[in-house]
């Protein structure tokens, strides 16, 4: 990258400056590292470095029984833990052909959608920070904290829940669960409107994000992007609709799809998605009936020999789990399709040619979680 001919791009005879952004930089959201080649304020080259958070999760899974793997999945995308757990248990249930009780499915959906809201709230806050606004993050953290309080009441942990089980959920929710969630939804709606009104249509944010980091629909598909990042590029694809899991075919909800594929669309699809998640949770609460929460299973899940791929719509996109089982109580091989990792792939194409400040906004708009990228 430094081998560019001096003065090639119409600039005077200057060499590019290499700037190292990360792994400890306020805008890299964890331990991502970018080597930027810059010409003045323009980025002319980018070398991304990942792997600082590599823990060998997939390999570790081969040595754990399935109920232990759930704890490892909590730590992949560490801001949407329920969704990760769901991906795993869906895969194992698919392989074992287990019918999950309805109540368990509804509770799973409620928790996953709330987790989606929590994750998107975190995104909105950090995205605003990347763009230079410090206030929205404190508002979104207030709302996220309310969600996590509910999670703590339900599963016992704020983040690392270990709550879903193969065949159901760990334990039934508390009696006041429905009332609490309902009250929470009202507060969330208010909070989302507040942040939306404060941030989304401000001239400065629009100037910073409109037309920045544009990726076309076909390109986004080629790179394997998914989730809000893909939908912002005008590709209507949502696992919850196209291949419904849990009981998503019983609820009505909209899926926001952008048309420009720029950072603002990636931001705003998420804002709209939060409101749709609220609608989903409302419907789930209305349909939630008393009943069993676990399928009848032996204590230690032992899937038959074979392989399976199951995927679910995580806040960040299409979260896939591929399991090869040799009939034992531990997977022979387990592979995760991490949406963050795939969404991160086009970073160089998006960033090169823009400004340093844009690089920060674009990276923020992709909303990666390094725990999942590096695994």
């Amino acid at each position: 990258m430094t081998a560019r001919v001096p003065g090639a791009a119409g600039s005077p005879q200057t060499l590019d400056m290499m700037v190292n952004m990360g792994p400890q930089h306020p805008a890299t959201h964890g331990v991502f590292r970018m080597e930027l080649a810059i010409d003045g304020e323009r980025v002319v080259g980018l070398i991304p470095h990942i792997g600082y958070l590599h823990r060998g999760s997939e390999k570790l899974c081969e040595h754990e029984i399935y109920s232990q793997i759930i704890t490892l999945f909590d730590r992949l995308d560490y801001v949407s833990n329920f969704n990760n757990e769901l991906g795993l248990v869906l895969a194992v249930e698919k392989l074992m052909e287990i019918q999950v009780p309805e109540r368990a499915s509804y509770v799973r959906m409620i928790l996953c959608e709330l987790n989606r809201i929590a994750s998107h709230l975190l995104f909105v806050g950090t995205f605003a920070l990347d763009a230079g606004a410090m206030t929205p993050s404190l508002y979104t953290f207030r709302d996220r904290e309310m969600i996590q309080a509910l999670f703590e009441a339900t599963s016992g942990a704020r983040m690392m829940h270990n709550f879903f089980r193969v065949g159901g959920i760990k334990e039934d929710v508390a009696d006041d669960f429905v009332v609490r969630v309902d009250r929470l939804l009202g507060e969330l709606e208010r909070g989302i409107d507040e942040v939306d009104g404060m941030l989304s249509f401000g001239e400065v944010l629009l100037a910073r994000t409109k037309g920045v980091g544009v990726i076309s629909g076909p390109d986004a598909i080629d790179w394997g992007m998914s989730g809000p990042c893909l939908r912002a590029s005008n590709v209507p694809y949502d696992v919850r609709i196209d291949e419904p899991y849990c009981l998503y075919d019983r609820v009505e909800f909209g899926v926001p799809v952008g048309t420009q594929g720029d950072s603002w669309d990636r931001y705003y699809t998420r804002v709209v998605e939060m409101r749709e998640s609220v609608k989903i949770v409302r419907q789930c609460l209305a349909q939630l009936q008393p009943g069993p929460i676990m399928a009848q299973l032996r204590r230690i899940a032992r899937p038959p020999k074979g392989e399976v791929y199951a995927h679910a719509e995580n806040p960040r996109g299409d979260f896939g789990v591929y399991i090869v089982s040799d009939g034992g109580e531990r997977p022979y091989r387990l592979k995760v399709r991490p949406p963050s990792y795939c969404n991160l792939m086009p970073l160089r194409d998006l960033v090169v040619g823009s400004y340093i400040a844009d690089a920060v906004v674009i990276l923020g708009s992709l909303d990666i979680v390094l725990g999942e990228v590096d695994r």
């Binding site: 400056m17 700037v19 190292n20 930089h25 306020p26 805008a27 304020e41 605003a128 920070l129 990347d130 763009a131 230079g132 606004a133 410090m134 206030t135 404190l138 508002y139 207030r142 404060m198 941030l199 249509f201 401000g202 001239e203 400065v204 944010l205 629009l206 100037a207 910073r208 409109k210 912002a232 209507p236 694809y237 949502d238 609709i241 196209d242 419904p244 075919d249 009505e252 909800f253 909209g254 899926v255 926001p256 799809v257 952008g258 048309t259 420009q260 603002w264 669309d265 705003y268 699809t269 709209v272 400004y355 340093i356 400040a357 844009d358 920060v360």
Partner: protein, 404 residues
């Protein structure tokens, strides 16, 4: 011939000024943190002293006793000299700023020229800090500061010139105190004369000065040169301890300066509403002066509060947008203001024609700028899709009814 008594008096005045400035800076940092906390639904400093009032003092002690680290590659002289180069002009500015009638260290008839000259000097210090830190982030920040400060100095200067033209004086005391000016056979009347403050006469100038002032300070939405999420603090990134404290001091002194300049030029300083007329003619001059200074400070803190409020509200512009805004919007506006003022004065039109012309002009420019970025017609880029069943029975996402 300078006499010894003058030297001693000036030195005493400078010392008193420094003490006053330190107090103001400490109170401003407290005010900023409290205001931001208020905006962000936090408590802010609340442990040290009542309502955290002593927090700035605790911070100062902490910074002054902290180890001062110099990067191994940084040139010693440049690195240690840069903070001085930043804080010295900021301090020297205050020598001629009047806090009341006669409440100033040194009167200067060409005061406004002195202000302009000194306020540009600060950029040298920032560049030195950026270069002398031997850090790429600092360097980027230093160059950003240079580009930004030099660009935004121009609209400020032109607004100051417009005010000087209107008042027919380069002395800040005249701008505030308002001696009767006779132009084209007509007596101008403003703040000090029982008239209205210049803000109502020259709203265009006020807007340009305030916005350019924000950029000059490097405050949100123009905090490009220390942008936390990009260059991690810009020129100051390598500084710690007392030297960082000096930068910090300079920054708040500048904030205070821009707020004071805005109040002095446009809100009638200490003389509006006139303290003498409030207290009555028989009031002792000391009381009149004290009330005037209190009024000035109240207005300055209000303007500073608005600056802090901006910080809690806006994201940050990008460097090219910042430069475009400066050169394409603010500088033409400031020139328009100057020409307007000159025209009105030359033809002897009544003063109210100035706001009559400039307010619609400002509205049009704001409208165009708004349309440029936040056109509601361009906003609807996110459409809603819902589940629907295709002819072949496949479930797909399709645009919701009513969405194109």
């Amino acid at each position: 011939m300078v006499t010894w008594s003058e030297v001693v008096l000036t030195a005493l005045g400078l010392g008193a000024l420094f003490a006053a400035l330190m107090t103001v800076v400490l109170s401003l940092t407290w005010l900023e943190r409290k205001l931001l906390a208020r905006i962000q639904r936090r408590a802010g400093p609340s442990v040290v002293g009542p309502h955290g009032l002593l927090q700035p003092v605790a911070d100062a002690i902490k910074l002054l006793t902290k180890e001062d680290v110099r990067p191994a590659d940084a040139p010693r002289f440049l690195f240690w000299f840069a903070p001085v180069m930043v804080v010295l002009p900021s301090y020297m500015l205050w020598v001629i700023i009047p806090f009341g009638d006669g409440l100033l260290v040194r009167a200067m008839e060409l005061g406004l020229i002195y202000l302009i000259a000194l306020s540009v000097l600060e950029v040298v210090g920032l560049l030195l800090a950026g270069w002398g830190s031997a850090s790429k982030y600092s360097l980027l920040g230093g160059f950003r500061a240079a580009a930004q400060l030099v660009s935004y100095e121009i609209p400020i200067i032109i607004v100051i010139i417009a005010v000087a033209v209107f008042v027919q004086s380069l002395d800040l005391r005249d701008v505030v105190g308002g001696h009767a000016t006779t132009i084209a056979g007509r007596t101008m009347s403003y703040a000090g004369q029982g008239g209205v403050p210049l803000a109502l006469v020259m709203p265009l100038g006020l807007v340009v000065l305030f916005i350019a002032g924000l950029a000059e300070l490097g405050r949100t939405p123009f905090d490009i040169h220390h942008a936390e999420s990009e260059v991690v603090g810009g020129p100051f990134v390598e500084y710690s301890g007392a030297h960082w404290a000096v930068f910090y001091l300079a920054e708040y002194m500048n904030t205070f300066f821009i707020a004071t300049l805005t109040v002095l030029l446009f809100f009638g300083g200490w003389s509006w509403p006139s303290p003498a007329s409030v207290l009555g003619d028989s009031a002792p001059p000391l009381a009149v002066n004290a009330l005037g200074a209190a009024w000035l400070m109240a207005k300055v803190y209000a303007v500073a509060g608005v600056i802090f409020w901006f910080r809690g509200t806006y994201p940050r512009l990008r460097i090219d947008q910042l430069m475009a805004f400066g050169w394409q919007v603010l500088i033409p506006l400031s020139f328009a203001n100057l020409i307007l003022v000159a025209t009105v004065l030359y033809y002897g039109w009544p003063t109210w024609t100035l706001p009559l012309i400039s307010v619609p002009l400002l509205a049009v420019v704001a409208r165009v700028a708004f349309r440029r970025y936040a056109d509601p017609r361009k906003m609807k880029t996110v459409r809603m899709f819902t589940r629907s069943t295709r002819a072949d029975g496949e479930t797909v996402l399709a645009p919701q009814a009513g969405e194109s």
